[in-house]
Symmetry: C2
Subunit: 140 residues, 2 copies
Amino acid sequence: MIAELTREETEEFLREQVVGRIGCHADGQTYVVPVIYAYDDGYLYVATIEGRKTRMLRANPEVCFEVDRYDGPAGWRSAIAWGTYEELAGEEAERAIAILAERFGRTGETRRHGPESGLRTVCFRIRVEELTGRAVERSA
Amino acid sequence: MIAELTREETEEFLREQVVGRIGCHADGQTYVVPVIYAYDDGYLYVATIEGRKTRMLRANPEVCFEVDRYDGPAGWRSAIAWGTYEELAGEEAERAIAILAERFGRTGETRRHGPESGLRTVCFRIRVEELTGRAVERSA
């Protein structure tokens, strides 16, 4: 029994979950990578470090974003979004950090890497342009 | 603290998890979709029904496959594979169903949809050509 979730139900699910997967595609290769995120008013916020995913996201900002929760044989719930990668700087990056910190506290997820680590923090958001949600419920 | 997993550790992780996400790309769009899978000797086996993902996988069989386990602030583990979609028929499809049934029992995950449901079961596997695994462990 597969049910489509309403926009409200899907957004509620995005707000309650913490791990999502970004699917991006550049130079003929698809890449799916897990991230800690916070959903806020039509945007998915992420703080990460420079690497393969940031290179690919800059090369092709059109992405897919997926969240799921598996409840065993009883069923599962998922949300799939399509949207655009927007890298953030200055005050916008500070705001992203604040949104993530509010969601997670000052844990590793939102800790900025100092220059001594050699890793540059990259803050970005995905502007959600299309959003679908599904729930699968099974009777025994 | 990010550690690369060995091939053996990554395969062990793939064997223990049940939900993965396929990332595919066709006609300029990337799609990430969760599936129940079983890993067996270099192949990821899936039984699903006809739909958007099977259309896209046929159009472009080069895919990414992602599995993760989030352990809260303590860290997480993930595996990312790249490989090729292979649709299965006849005895090969039967073997895929048997592998999934051995992993999950005769639950909804491996139940074939009868013709009366109007949904055709599609069995496929992804031949893993490249595999990476990572573990992130954080001290408090």
